[in-house]
């Protein structure tokens, strides 16, 4: 094994301990556009939670084009002769099937078959991959490299990233000079030039809508941002923060780490780890591809009756069931799970949620009851709302996969 973690030079070197959050290469632009000064910490960076209003930004995702600063997403470069066997032993999917210039969504587990994290694997060249994750986990990745001829290094600060999401994004990118971007299929990677800088584009995203993610050198960040803003002006482009994205991802049925599950490397209490089978990600687990970490535990789990499952809920009324406990009956006596993410979906016009539900109530079509608390001018009210277990995603427009996407 030869594995290394590069000594990363922080971008703003000023006494880092006094101002520990880093700024992304898009920070100056974000600062300019922020109307409500709402910044939050994300993986060591300061990023925008809301620019103007969450609603305005959300509707731009579903109706126009949006820019979202993805730079804090943790990125690892994985290369070497054993990159494929290494990754295939790391994740539960069969990555031998992943062709160059393609992306795959994956989860990976610890020995007990519990999810360490989820993320995307980009195959950039024959044996060079990029792994994008929510959490830093170089130790797990390096320990997984024991016995494999690979190098693993974190490259988060070397790559600025921008999510360009919404139904008009293909038109915006074309207007920005990315000729041929309309031919890119979902999960495909393409190489373009924007504002004179090389930009790697992947047709990926976290919104469940048409969209792309752009990867570039930090020095290209501001010119690319400006180029997109100029090209998208007539197509309703706007910068968005994490709140709007979170609503879109919930409609798309995507899981959010530390919200819908906690990394098995971070849980302290027993029984808080989640397997991919429990998270409804059984389709990501390939038992036939050969050994991977957690395989034996997951096989054993598969042979038992499932205890719980993360499912979608369609809840009566319009009050989001944030953190609601779930019950078998309206009398609220038998607790059978809890909501992990909830929102009123403006596009579906439904009150939706992701929830961890015990057997046998997780079956699609089951009725469960959600205990919702409402604060009405400082007076708390409790509602017991009927909810139905439904299939995910809640919102899956055909435009997200259409190739070529529609013109605007």
């Amino acid at each position: 094994m030869s594995a290394s973690s590069k000594n990363l030079a922080p971008m703003n070197l000023a006494p880092h301990f006094k101002k520990p959050l880093l700024q992304t290469p898009f920070h100056a632009r974000a600062r300019d556009l922020s109307q409500v000064d709402s910044f939050v910490a994300w993986a060591g960076y300061t990023t925008v939670d809301v620019f103007t209003t969450m609603e305005q930004e959300y509707f731009a995702i579903r109706n126009a084009s949006t820019l979202y600063d993805l730079t804090p997403m943790v990125k690892y470069r994985i290369a070497g002769a054993d990159a494929v066997p290494y990754l295939n032993r790391l994740v539960t999917r069969d990555l031998t099937k992943l062709k160059p210039d393609r992306v795959a969504y994956c989860v990976w587990c610890n020995d007990a078959g519990h999810v360490v994290d989820d993320g995307t694997v980009f195959r950039l060249r024959e044996s060079e991959y990029r792994l994008c994750t929510a959490e830093r986990q170089i130790d797990w990745l390096l320990d997984s490299a024991i016995g494999f001829a690979v190098t693993v290094e974190e490259v988060t600060e070397e790559i600025a990233a921008l999510a360009v999401q919404g139904p008009t994004t293909c038109a915006v990118l074309k207007a920005a000079g990315l000729a041929g971007v309309e031919r890119m299929k979902p999960f495909e990677i393409g190489y373009f030039s924007l504002a004179g800088f090389p930009v790697t584009v992947s047709r990926t995203g976290f919104t469940g809508d048409l969209g792309y993610e752009l990867w570039m050198a930090p020095s290209a960040a501001e010119p690319v941002w400006d180029g997109l803003m100029a090209a998208g002006r007539s197509r309703g482009i706007r910068a968005i923060g994490s709140q709007a994205l979170n609503l879109a991802r919930l409609e798309a049925g995507f899981l959010s780490p530390n919200v819908d599950f906690v990394s098995a490397e971070h849980t302290l209490r027993t029984g808080r780890d989640r397997s991919p089978l429990e998270l409804g990600l059984a389709w990501l687990v390939d038992f036939d591809k050969g050994h991977f970490t957690g395989r034996r535990a997951l096989l054993a789990e598969q042979q038992r009756n499932p205890r719980r499952l993360l499912v979608g809920l369609d809840i009566a009324g319009n009050k989001p069931a944030h953190n609601a406990l779930l019950y078998a009956k309206a009398d609220g006596k038998q607790e059978i799970g809890s909501v992990t993410s909830a929102a009123w979906s403006p596009t579906c016009k439904r009150n939706i949620a992701l929830a961890m539900v015990d057997a046998p109530y997780f079956r699609t079509g089951s009725t469960v009851w959600a205990e919702i608390y409402l604060n009405r001018e400082l007076v708390w009210e409790r509602r017991m709302s009927r909810a139905e277990v439904v299939e995910r995603p809640f919102f899956a427009p055909s435009r997200r996969r259409a190739t070529p996407p529609a013109e605007f």
Binding site: R89, D111, I146
Partner: protein, 525 residues
């Protein structure tokens, strides 16, 4: 390389023909299974072999005394009828003191070397108490360790049994055992004795073959461990097998063969074959593939999992634990071919035939250890010395002699590298020996030094640790070598461990091999 398909299909393949591999193979064969044992070298023995290190001079390669192999194991496998004989049994121990009178330190008591005031009485009380403790702990050795946190009644019974053994000692002894269990041997001996030579000799047994000095935490545990293993062995005490330690393995090989096992030497295993997530056989370095229903490895855990099997068949967390096993050896072996019998100052002929310890005080040991922490060797190493030719003249040409010494502490990764230092360190050992055996240097015909690095290369033990992994709280009993492989079964179905890396550990004991065979015969659980 052409791949031959072996015609025979075996129930079990045992990797490695050291004592544990041989015991395991013999025990499996005894149960009527078809067993193939594969040994890399041209003869069996592993690290428990006898080597000719100079023309006509033979010596035990690593351990040079037999004191841990259970008597019932020797009887059960009929080793005596398969040629095992002893040239000495019940050998005495003598603490050498440069410039002073040696002290005889035996179970029966102390003699010579005027031990300080109350030490004689204190010593006999100590021996009796430690013997009781050893007796309480000895039953742990013959069994596969239980697991914690399972719902299995067998595990619960085993844990209860352990607790009962200790409770049975009675209130005073139990309290004392629990008090000293986590201490270091320096503090224990300081509170009981005055004589430096006595403390040095007793402390040496706690740190022999370890990466510990007498002040290191957990050294009372290692001492109790050695005493309990000796207790579990029964009547053997310190013995010198006729023909060296290799003769033990020769007898084991004959026993295994007589029981129906097939032994192939000069057949190094390149890798363990896996089919449908199960160990399915092995591939030899020659390219030959041999199938079996299960594979039992007496190689050390790192070699077994990381080299022979490969991380790709294991989970990351398990590989992490295996790669963290502390298994760097710190003991070297010195072999001298002598023109005449060595004369140890003040040592009577009967004592010279026994075990001679060069550790005149606990501070001497601690200083010898200090250097090793920084990748250096001390100018005053500690030694366990035997002169096997005094008991068995045939180990050397007529009138000549062999001196065999375990030397501590000798780093695996010497900062200066062994290339240039080998000669210097060998000379240093001779200089130190000269202080207790004047005139020895002039009689040296040939000297051989086996550093931990040599032991790693020659015996294929990753890190060159005699015990295949440090015996310490975090690496012993039910977590030895690591959780997930501490009951001989491993995460890969059909692959088992039977070497010194398993409970109860190293030393020419054979117990890990026998326990493993019991576990293997139970099949998958």
């Amino acid at each position: 390389m052409a791949q031959q398909q072996s015609p025979a299909r075996y129930d079990f393949i045992v990797i490695g023909g050291g004592h544990n591999g041989l015991v395991c193979a013999a025990t499996l064969a005894h149960a009527g299974r078809r067993v193939l044992l594969l040994e890399a070298q041209s003869r069996v023995g592993g690290a428990a072999a006898t080597r000719e290190f100079a023309p006509g001079f033979r010596v035990s390669s690593c351990a040079h005394l037999l004191h841990l192999m259970p008597a019932d194991l020797i009887r059960g496998l009929n080793l005596t009828s398969h040629g095992l004989e002893f040239s000495a049994q019940g050998m005495p121990t003598t603490a050498l003191r440069p410039g002073g009178v040696p002290l005889k330190v035996n179970q029966a008591g102390l003699s010579g070397g005027n031990p300080a005031g109350g030490d004689t009485d204190a010593y006999s009380a100590y021996v009796q108490r430690m013997r009781r403790f050893a007796g309480a702990l000895a039953p742990l050795f013959g069994k596969v360790p239980p697991r914690l946190g399972t719902a299995e009644w067998s595990d619960r019974w085993a844990l209860l049994g352990m607790a009962w053994q200790i409770r049975k000692l009675g209130r005073r002894d139990m309290r004392e055992l629990l008090r000293i269990g986590g201490m270091n041997v320096f503090d224990l001996l300081e509170e009981q004795f005055d004589s430096d030579a006595l403390k040095g000799a007793l402390g040496f047994d706690a740190v022999l073959g370890t990466n510990f000095g007498p002040r290191s935490p957990g050294t009372v545990l290692t001492l109790l461990y050695r005493l309990a293993a000796e207790h579990a062995a029964g009547e053997a005490a310190l013995s010198q097998p006729k023909g060296g330690l290799g003769a033990v393995c020769d007898a084991l090989a004959k026993s295994a063969t007589a029981l129906g096992a097939t032994i192939r030497t000069a057949s190094p295993v390149a890798r363990i074959l896996v089919a449908a997530d199960r160990a399915a056989g092995v591939e030899l370095e020659s390219g030959e593939r041999i199938e079996a229903s299960a594979v039992v490895s007496s190689a050390d855990p790192k070699t077994t999992f990381l080299k022979l099997l490969g991380a790709k068949y294991l989970d990351t967390g398990f590989v992490r634990r295996v790669s963290h096993i502390r298994a760097r050896g710190l003991a070297a072996k010195l072999h001298l071919a002598l023109d005449r019998a060595p004369q140890f100052a003040g040592v009577e002929p009967a004592s010279a035939k026994g075990r001679l310890l060069l550790a005149p005080s606990l501070n001497y040991l601690e200083r010898a250890y200090n250097h090793a922490k920084y990748g250096e060797y001390s100018n005053a190493p500690a030694m366990e010395i035997t002169v096997p030719t005094l008991n068995e003249p045939g180990m050397a040409p007529s009138g000549k002699h062999v001196l065999s010494a375990i030397v501590q502490y000798v780093p695996y990764a010497l900062k200066a590298g062994w290339q240039d230092e080998r000669q210097r360190f060998t000379q240093l050992c001779l200089d130190v020996l000269e202080t207790v055996a004047p005139g020895l240097q002039g009689s040296v015909l040939h000297a051989e030094l086996l550093t931990p690095l040599d032991i790693e290369r020659e015996f294929r033990i990753e890190g060159g640790h005699w015990h295949h992994g440090e015996l310490a709280f975090d690496q012993f009993f039910m977590v030895r070598p690591v959780p997930g492989a501490a009951q001989h079964a491993t995460p890969l179905p059909g692959l088992y461990l039977c070497g010194a890396g398993c409970h109860p550990g190293g030393g020419v004991m054979g117990t890990p091999g026998r326990n493993a065979a019991q576990r293997v015969l139970k099949g998958s659980v």
